[in-house]
Subunit: 414 residues, 2 copies
Amino acid sequence: MKAIIISIGNELLIGQVVNTNAAFIAEKLNSVGIEISKILTVADDGEAILMSFKESYASHDIVIVTGGLGPTHDDITRTSVCAFFQTDLVSNDEARINIQQFLKARNRPWSDAAENQTLIPRGATVMSNPHGTAPGEFFHRDGKYFIVMPGVPQEMEAMITNFVVPYFQKTSSGKVILHRTLNTTGIPESLLAERLGNTDEILQGEKLAFLPSTGGVRLRITVIGVDRMKSEQKLSSIEQAIRVKAEKYIYSIENQSLEETLGKLLIEQHRTIAVAESCTGGLLADTVTNVPGSSRYFERGLITYSNQSKHDLLGVPKELIEMHGAVSKEVAEAMARGVRTTSNVNIGVSTSGIAGPTGGSAEKPVGLVWIGYSDAKETFAIKLHLGSERIRIKERAVQAALELVRRRLLKIDQ
Amino acid sequence: MKAIIISIGNELLIGQVVNTNAAFIAEKLNSVGIEISKILTVADDGEAILMSFKESYASHDIVIVTGGLGPTHDDITRTSVCAFFQTDLVSNDEARINIQQFLKARNRPWSDAAENQTLIPRGATVMSNPHGTAPGEFFHRDGKYFIVMPGVPQEMEAMITNFVVPYFQKTSSGKVILHRTLNTTGIPESLLAERLGNTDEILQGEKLAFLPSTGGVRLRITVIGVDRMKSEQKLSSIEQAIRVKAEKYIYSIENQSLEETLGKLLIEQHRTIAVAESCTGGLLADTVTNVPGSSRYFERGLITYSNQSKHDLLGVPKELIEMHGAVSKEVAEAMARGVRTTSNVNIGVSTSGIAGPTGGSAEKPVGLVWIGYSDAKETFAIKLHLGSERIRIKERAVQAALELVRRRLLKIDQ
């Protein structure tokens, strides 16, 4: 079944609010085999809304509408629904009971606005709203579905979870849509594509999407079938085929971040870590400590911005800085070794680079970053060029530092 | 002029990615008097894309397309553009130079993928891409505009900011839409609204939007008129009226962040700063060092996650930690004083709290955070309750710490 999502609201069209509702609905409906073929945002304008209803209903099996059901004057979705189905508003008892319960639980009195919210288009099934007063409206006519929900995320989410998803789970056509996402880092999209080569053979008619972001490229496999077990087997075999070609770069699947992956490895291998940061300015420690429970393996972080602090806190010899400069292989190595030994951990990591916009030279341009690594057996540093934008340089350096440690823990070559 | 945004990408239709691009574009075009009447998301499907181009071009003056310009096989926007304009792809010299510069800055070699990215539809003006290899495409035909950009937010944002907005600013129709945003922090939306009272008199028919986020509430004033000078005067008088009621909480206007505001103050007052972080785990230092030139005032940051490191690096007595706990007024003060004296700066700031999800107790629940402050004249700490979500607790604690220093520098009461 093909579905369209229609989001109604001027706040979306002036960019004041990001449309997170559409993504939520799409993901949930996908999980019960419903494909979203379009997402449309229209203004709080009766004519525009009605036209979008007509066009969408003609070309889709399911129309999902959010927004414009509240009690204020700019909310005109309900009357547009009536115009579309050529029906009128009637006071609904189920809606009334829900609204009464909602207000009672909050010690709020009945009001004209509440009375008004009991009115729904004749013929609609009510979807109750545990988080607000506007009821949802569900139509099933001529083999098609027309579903209307409030735009407040929490209210819409409850209706999708409690009503819409269970409904389509029961009546599902048997189609199975499965996704799996492999998260890679340390390789640009174009080189990853080259490495995978012609994917037609691997994919056997299924789909693979490349999703690049600052942290790396995610590979999303999609398998559509009728038999769940067969589809899952196909998904796994595609995943394995991709892993054969790019295993080294894949740090996790689905939503697990690189720092979570690294945290798990450190706990498994009973290792502790400390960081010494220059150009990343605290972002490396911040990223590591975003993981709940990171205090089990993260001992300390030193942001040694000044040369004095590199000397005082890490024991980096002043002559070394004078001879090679603070942004150098030698200093990055000394920082990593210094933070490891002074804080008595297994692994020390360091960053030193030129985040810009000023401070670059021909020899050491903006974007040059050294990542240092030190454990009981080895100390070394790698050199990277990470672009020209301060914040991106910091982000990429952090990602590279985390990935460096991951590969050392797994004994993967750099 | 009426515009439509078309976002292309399966990742949007399966809910894997939230469409933040549309909101960004809408807000920017609004600022130059262009109204967005629709936002449409379509699949990576040649036929669906072409049909959306035809329908949109027929009913709008400006069509803005994002997504599907990358080098991999699922990116088919470019060929759809050619089909729509009945033209072919040609290798473009300007695009070639941009891509060469981009790769050179990153020490990456020329490749087939790079060569492929020099191809753009005949007749398009190139919008250069400072953050990637895919050029943007700009068409102006028959009084209409057709604009194609990559879907990677950073790349699209650069093209909007550097090319599209300046272009339409020059050719704007004479209607003046002015916005001014006042950034507040340290006061919730409801209390800020109370403080401003009935705004009808202040606004004289113009608009005020409350935009809450983790960092604080932004107040956006919008004035629409025909005479630029009169509109600007009106904007200023509304701003002044708001300042009379809420000056203390307003740390900047437009896009200046709290850390930039603070950096300017520190430079003006010739002060240096160092930070000692526990619960914020590096985010405070990271935020301070996101500002270019912050090395002028930021000396060092110590992320003392373990009690041992609080003792070793900051000289916090072990007995103090045993007596009051690491999350306490006493330890926060000792940390702030310790980092100030050991690093020889004017101002020391510290954070100590329970970021969760575990580690809370009845007496010290998750979300409890102490912010310590120390300069030559005074040392103290303030106590905050910052919710229950780890990342938000870190963000709010950082914002509160920065704001604490701003108010001390300006001698504003807490």
